[in-house]
Subunit: 338 residues, 2 copies
Amino acid sequence: MANNITIVELAAALGLSKSTVSRAFRDSEDINPKTREKILQKANELGFSPNLYASNLRGNKSHTIAIIIPEFGNKFFSQAIKGIEWVARNNGYHVLIYVTDHSAEKEADIIRTLVNGRVDGVIMSGSGEGNNHEYLKLLQNNKVPLVFFDRYYEDVPTACITGNDFESSYQATKHLITNGAKRIAYLAVNKDVSIGKIRMEGYKKALEEAKLPINEQLILDTSNDVHVNYQDIKTLIQIQHPDAIFASVERLAMSTIRVARELHLTIPNDLKLICFSCLDIADMLQPSLSVVKQPAYEMGIQATSQLFDILCGRKPDGIRNLLFLDSELIFQHSSRKV
Amino acid sequence: MANNITIVELAAALGLSKSTVSRAFRDSEDINPKTREKILQKANELGFSPNLYASNLRGNKSHTIAIIIPEFGNKFFSQAIKGIEWVARNNGYHVLIYVTDHSAEKEADIIRTLVNGRVDGVIMSGSGEGNNHEYLKLLQNNKVPLVFFDRYYEDVPTACITGNDFESSYQATKHLITNGAKRIAYLAVNKDVSIGKIRMEGYKKALEEAKLPINEQLILDTSNDVHVNYQDIKTLIQIQHPDAIFASVERLAMSTIRVARELHLTIPNDLKLICFSCLDIADMLQPSLSVVKQPAYEMGIQATSQLFDILCGRKPDGIRNLLFLDSELIFQHSSRKV
DNA sequence: TTGAAAGCGCTAACAG
DNA sequence: CTGTTAGCGCTTTCAA
């Protein structure tokens, strides 16, 4: 709860006016350095600091940004947030965090709480579902710039930092083919989000190029429920007998490993596996896991830098502007020919 | 940037007074439901929402809490934050996040930015270093309650949710002994923080009970630099030849696995390993990793609930109050007798 | 260089 | 149930 002592009391204690005290806390040069010194010292002594809400109300800005992400817990988002927090702090900004659990509805709710001045900008990885992104207009109407990272909506014109997912998916799939795979299953996340679609297109391109059939039975659209996914993956493997799996996100690969274990299938002998993941211990898994590793931290840094570019007027808002950062392909045992 | 349209304009557009409009947005019952409906509808139409900073300035509260943690990226903190965010949102609160990189100085800096009304409460896992926690008095002076989770400072009287670390460490060490270990090394984090000390005490108790010597050479106080730790662990193993290692945090166990690999030591044959970790794929590692698994999500939930208890006056602030949540001991291959 | 005064947009008595 | 009014604590002209 805000400070008890106010600028008026501080001023009184010093025999000055509140305007002078106020100046001491701004970058104002209209003040005698000695006076400022005296004020700052007294403030420190009395434990005074200017009330944030009064300042913001006058100044009309919050020095706060929001991060909105669909899930929390994998290395990708952890790293990205770390980057975001770092840049924000260096710019004297604070960071609010929101998790949607992949619910577009929650996403919309959150957005609605942000347009009353709470934040100066938003960095978001989209939760997908539906394609009505009207609520994002709220941000625009309130001049709150938005920057996407990783998962963006194609119909929303704004800056966006993402991976070179088409190319990586293509390369990853090609790698599986090179290693002898012929029936490669693709585990998709939400096809409504950019990455759901694009990663799949890379996969399809590799198949086409190798003259392998694109079998829709081998493409599994997954949910956000880990148990449902487990069952679906199990069924897919039992019925379709793929010889390789390309998981578009880490958690699907983990479920795959558990299913394989239950079905007594050996990776990579019976089933090859590769996935998108930022796990730093992929090489310690049994078997070591082949991954497409996105530069998560860098993505966070870039997204936030772009947001500040917009906030500082160095770049315009509301312009579609995609920046692709290269992922690293790390081939280990899980995808290798045996 | 805040909304352009104000409560006054909305009132004008409806031919009402601004107090009536204000009431429509509070839980006030002093308003005709029909009027409220009309107001809310018009507000929606005009894209109005009450300016946050004006409300906060009047109401003297921010509906925001802060999380301060030393590091970011391991499952423990991810899960805890998830719990915190969940409870906060259910209470209509927003969550600011701050990472200190284990720097007590940064921690103090952050605290200083929080006492101007920015937050109503703070949830923190201490970064340790030094034992001058004077800066935390700032919070108390400004009536901003603080709740610790996991890593607390013993000299700060406040609520604290942590694991039953003494018991878990004791059990984990005992387990290593039962499985034949005689020279058990302990990898400590910062001994200034509660967990650094307490986890080590559990380790020592188990040794004493088994009449094994407590060898300070086998206790490694680690830094926050992964490379330095790697070297130190390597040196420890090469010179002291421990037959087991108890790592007090996950990342130290990961470094140990890498060192063992470099030195061609097999786990658990040449070296047994157990550690504190919330990793959900500990069983997929090679070898599967024995862990002390703290209820991270639950800890976040409990810490935040307690904070709200204090905020709502259901509990007093500034009282030392430790709550211990039981960890789960999961023994897998890395610590087993061969 | 400092002070006086007018709000920022909203809330909460109080009166009607 | 609705309107009037007096601030919340600060910033920022404008005048001194």
